[in-house]
């Protein structure tokens, strides 16, 4: 049967619905696909991280190649002295490569915030503006699934900017190092680097989404993120200088991440002398606050408010 003004016949669906579909992955994939369609912003945002990654990769490769000549010169040495010298040289090489990767990570962090802000600030704000959430919540989807889908989307872009470069450079280092020594000797550093990158991406992902959920304009969310980020950074550093108290620096997100970085990799940065636990508490509280905002705002979206 067909209606009078159209020619197509309605077909029934005789398949079955899956019991446990990965709805958050589907939602994330549709968000990622939209991101890939905007090619110019993608090019502009990723070109610098890509250059950093390639340059660091080359530097790591060169670092190992440059020392390979020294190994040939050791051929005439006593075997025990040769082993000791080779070990010391390798250790120094690996240490230098680590520093290169640390620099890459540090240099990349603000680009990651920019990229995640760009791709994430519209994820909930645009849904609210267009009322697209009505299409999602009218389906068998919970708020948690919705939030997870959005978080996966923004984390994908963040990972592309920081987790992927770290992985690429660590892979180059592993392949270029003699006998995979970077992988076998410094596997704990690789794991910590990846953990730190994922932590950075997760925290900023949830923060971006929380800000995005508070408005219905993408630009406002992006502005809000940068105001929060840079105002607390500049404000806390200024207060620390004025009041001569390092505790003020705890108010800044990047300072807390720097403290975690220092703790993970046994580094020390000037002006950051507080306990690691304090930074974990601050970031934990911010994560909790962001999650609470997201929970409240997505509930409002769910009921169509």
């Amino acid at each position: 049967m067909k209606a009078t003004t159209h020619t197509e016949v309605y077909r029934r669906f005789d398949g079955e619905l899956r019991k446990r579909p990965l709805r958050s992955v589907t939602l994330a994939w549709s968000g990622i696909r939209i991101g890939f369609k905007k090619k110019l912003p993608m090019l502009l945002l990723f070109i610098i991280p890509a250059i950093f990654t390639i340059v660091t990769g080359f530097m790591v490769q060169l670092k190992f190649e440059a020392e390979s000549g020294t190994l040939t010169n050791m051929a005439g040495m006593e075997p025990s002295a040769q082993t000791m010298a080779m070990g010391a040289m390798l250790s120094s090489q690996l240490g230098q490569v680590e520093v290169l990767i640390f620099q890459l990570l540090t240099n990349m962090q603000f680009f990651v915030v920019l990229i995640m802000g760009w791709y994430g600030s519209g994820l909930i704000a645009e849904d609210r503006k267009l009322r697209a959430h009505l299409l999602y919540f009218a389906r068998p989807m919970s708020r948690l699934t919705y939030t997870a889908g959005k978080l996966l989307t923004v984390m994908f872009w963040g990972s592309l900017a920081v987790v992927a470069p770290v992985t690429i450079v660590c892979s180059v280092a592993s392949l270029a190092s003699p006998e995979w020594s970077f992988l076998t000797e410094r596997w704990d550093t690789i794991l910590k680097l990846e953990l730190y990158a994922v932590l950075w991406v997760f925290f900023h992902g949830i923060l971006v989404l929380a800000i995005s959920s508070l408005t219905d304009r993408r630009n406002r969310a992006l502005g809000g993120l940068f105001i929060l980020y840079f105002l607390t950074l500049a404000g806390s550093n200024a207060m620390a200088e004025l009041m001569s108290g390092q505790g003020w620096r705890l108010l800044s997100i990047p300072n807390n991440f720097q403290r975690i970085f220092d703790g993970l990799f046994d580094q020390s940065s000037p002006g950051i002398g507080w306990n690691l636990e304090a930074s974990l508490w601050v970031l934990g509280l911010l994560t909790f606050a962001s999650a609470a905002i997201l929970s409240r705002q997505t509930r409002k979206l769910e009921v169509g408010a």
């Binding site: 049967m1 067909k2 209606a3 009078t4 003004t5 159209h6 020619t7 197509e8 016949v9 309605y10 077909r11 029934r12 669906f13 005789d14 398949g15 619905l17 899956r18 019991k19 579909p21 709805r23 589907t26 939602l27 994939w29 549709s30 696909r33 939209i34 369609k37 905007k38 645009e126 849904d127 267009l130 009322r131 697209a132 009505l134 299409l135 999602y136 919540f137 009218a138 389906r139 068998p140 989807m141 919970s142 769910e302 009921v303 169509g304």
Partner: protein
């Protein structure tokens, strides 16, 4: 309290062969929903029969709240709502309801940058279809709503009519038996409106879909629905079959005369008949109490020497029924001080 009732959704895929379409698709009992001091729904008691049902009401009547409750997005303050045999009291029941309901929102709600195929197939996957089924089904429903090559274009260049049809397609993609259509003809030109109404009519009348059509446009409801519910200030003030509600009233008559309509009108008014003269020259007459049929009119016409060509009972339009119901409700509210 049990969350599920034994009777499944009539016409659902699992009981597609069931001939029984007599079970109500929605049962509301004493349904109340308040947001603080604002009472959106004030004790709704109704049963929506299967088939297409129109939901009418002025702004703020509680239509959106009712949709939220039917989808299990809101929890009632009091009372129960049973949708497709399921009571949305827990998460599992709410999820199950949303598998069986297709919702077409009033607002634009489509994310730009994606194509129609991408949107519909993504939403199908979110409902639970596997990848292959989602793609196939997306094309089927896009064929049905006649989004041809445009389905491969990004939404940015779509007309309102195309967007509305796309929204209908996404509501249909999992082949639900109960469709909630919120203002489907909103913003459409006459051709687009005609097309959309023909789709809704086909779904309700030929595809046996149960439809709740929310609309401000009474002719749309009159054309596509068999039953109607009028919601005012959170209460159902009128519900029933459109045919019955708009049935001809035996006391209101349309009288066509060859000439001398003015003379006949004067004579009738002198005898306490309420009359009015239409622009087309026909005389509208309401019989006074005590006069049971139109024979008396013939006596007046004969007395005035006027020839009557026809006498027909007047059939109310849905608009008249709606306005009268709203009017009566307001008068009642004023009288009770509510």
């Amino acid at each position: 309290m049990t969350s599920t009732l034994p009777d499944p959704l009539p016409g659902h895929a699992s009981d597609a062969d069931s001939p029984d379409r007599g079970e109500p698709i929605v049962r509301l009992q004493g349904l109340r929903k308040s947001f603080g001091s604002v009472h959106a729904l004030r004790g709704l008691d109704m049963e929506l029969p299967p088939g297409p049902v129109g939901l009418l009401g002025p702004n703020g009547a509680g239509k959106t709240t009712l949709i939220g409750l039917l989808l299990g997005l809101l929890e009632p303050t009091e009372g129960t709502a049973v949708v497709a045999g399921l009571q949305p009291t827990n998460r599992a029941a709410r999820i199950e309801i949303r598998k069986r309901v297709g919702y077409m929102p009033e607002s634009d709600c489509l994310l730009p940058g994606m194509t129609a195929v991408e949107i519909v197939s993504s939403l199908a996957k979110l409902t639970g279809l596997n990848r292959q089924d989602a793609i196939t089904r997306a094309h089927e429903v896009l064929d049905y709503v006649e989004l041809d090559e445009a389905r491969y274009r990004a939404l940015d260049g779509y007309s309102t009519g195309m967007k509305q049809r796309l929204k209908l397609a996404q509501a249909l993609v999992h082949d639900p038996d109960f469709l909630l259509l919120d203002e489907p003809t909103n913003g459409l030109d006459p051709a687009g409106r005609r097309h959309m109404l023909s789709l809704v009519e086909d779904l309700g009348r030929n595809q046996n879909k149960n439809i709740l059509l929310c609309s401000h446009l009474l002719p749309d409801v009159e054309r596509t629905c068999d039953n109607v519910v009028v919601l005012v200030k959170g209460q159902a003030i009128l519900q029933g079959s459109i045919a019955e509600l708009t049935a001809a009233e035996s006391r209101r008559l349309r009288v066509e005369v060859e000439d001398g309509a003015g003379r006949l009108q004067a004579a009738l008014e002198a005898a306490t008949y309420a009359t009015s003269l239409n622009e087309d020259g026909a005389l509208m007459v309401t019989l006074p109490h005590g006069v049971e049929d139109a024979d008396a009119l013939c006596g007046f016409a004969a007395g005035e020497g006027v020839n009557i060509s026809s006498i027909d009972p007047v059939r109310s339009t849905l608009e008249e029924v709606f306005l009268k119901a709203v009017d009566d409700s307001e008068k009642k509210a004023e009288a009770t001080g509510a």
